[in-house]
Amino acid sequence: MFAFLHHYYPVFVQGTAQTILISFIGILIGIGLGLCFVSLRRSKYRLFQYIARLYIAIVRGTPSMIQVMLIYYGLSKMIDIPQIQFLGSGLDRLIPGSIALGINSGAYTAEIFRSGLISIPRGQTEAGLSLGLSNRTTLYGIVMPQAVRNVLPALGNEFITLIKESSVLFYIGVQEVTAQALGVGGTLYNFIPPLLVAAVIYFVLTQLMSLLVSLMEKRLGNAYLKVPE
């Protein structure tokens, strides 16, 4: 059943590289947008709060496939990206595609950051302020590091979701794993074996991502959470 792999594995390797690339860019943009919108959401100004809420509501309320297509068709009308080929797809698809993924992920990331900040007891802020520290130092020196540590698992889940969601980019012609599997299926006149291969690839990628996140959790100081005997 998987004899075709012998011949077609380079296609899957290329697709995997592409999936990793778009996921990586998407994650970076997602974190950036998340930080940006969590600030808006916590801002004193109603208008900013409102913008952030609207963005989050729209992203969470519509399928990512539709978002990706709308952003791609929308962006391609607005900006002109050179059609340089990279790993088998044009940059004019890769870039809007990754941006779309990032815009989608940003809404979830913003909510995760927000929950992280909420999770840190008010007492931590008060302890910082009562020592004479500024609001800024208290936020970035005391609250944030703890918040980031707390939300790492949730962030990890979001990254995993993003890796999986990246499969919708096949519809705008990005040659990632799903697109490659569908293409090979077209040549073989049979979909099932290449789709199984794609499923395994995603599974491995997402497992690696959770491994990575749990390593980071350890590095970011599991120590202080452990209660020694």
Partner: protein
């Protein structure tokens, strides 16, 4: 319609590349294979594209995406030409300019080999699911000529034929070239049904699509097609594509 000078050929020659859009899940017209460890999209349309690019003296670049979105990509100037086994329907003619035809199709009903005897007539399909690719002439034909059947529309042809093999569909309406190829590749799985489907004239011709204003480009393309038709190379290219698929499946 505009009197402005048509720069379409010059633009392509200036950027030294012809960008052709296709949807590579349609063997033998276009499909991916691996050659020397590299993925490559090949097929009849690609061989022809190469000839056109050569004629223009430029490199060829292929953009592979979903069939239903090709025309919109053309209009967004993401691609210069569509070579995707695209039939020049009157409706599409409203949106794009078509070249001369480089292939003539007839539509047939591809069925599971087991059911070859079962589906002989249009009536025998009553109440059964028949597949067709979304936004294709086959979709229109299915819905008009097999009105008693249940149409199933998906964006990808292979997903339909996979379902056919699984017994989820009674038949799939496809072009005869594709159907022949399926039968040749998997004689135990697929067969062509005796059901009579008529392909109206406006649904018969496969052409290359270009933007409406790119008249000069269409002209150049037509010249090349005529040449290849005359010296018999067009048929050769098709056979070459069929052979390529046979050795890669």
């Amino acid at each position: 319609s505009s009197n402005k000078a048509d720069n379409s050929v010059k633009t392509i020659q200036n950027k030294k590349t012809l960008v052709v859009g296709t949807a590579a899940d349609y063997a033998p017209f276009e499909f991916p294979i691996v050659q020397n460890g590299q993925k490559k999209i090949v097929g009849y349309d690609l061989l022809l594209s190469k000839k056109i690019a050569d004629n223009l003296g430029v490199k060829l670049k292929i953009v592979n995406t979903e069939f239903p979105s090709l025309i919109s990509e053309l209009q967004d100037k993401k691609i210069d030409l569509i070579l995707a086994g695209m039939v020049s329907t009157p409706q599409r003619k409203k949106a794009v300019a078509f070249s001369k035809s480089y292939y003539t199709v007839k539509n047939v009903l591809l069925v599971n080999k087991k059911n070859q005897a079962r589906y002989n007539t249009v009536a025998s399909l009553k109440g059964h699911s028949v597949g067709a690719q979304q936004s294709t002439t086959q979709e229109t034909i299915t819905k008009s000529q097999l009105a008693d059947a249940n149409p199933v529309v998906e964006s990808n042809l292979t997903s339909l034929t996979t379902e056919l093999k699984q017994g989820k569909l009674a038949g799939v309406v496809v072009e005869n070239a594709i159907a022949d190829n399926y039968v040749k590749s998997y004689p135990h799985d697929y067969a062509i049904a005796k059901v009579k489907l008529t392909t109206p004239k406006s649904f018969r011709y496969i052409n290359i699509a270009a933007r409406k204003n790119d008249k000069a480009l269409v002209k150049r393309v037509n010249t090349e097609i005529t040449k290849l038709q005359k010296n018999g190379q067009l048929k050769e290219l098709f056979k070459q594509a069929q052979a390529l698929q046979a050795e890669n499946k």
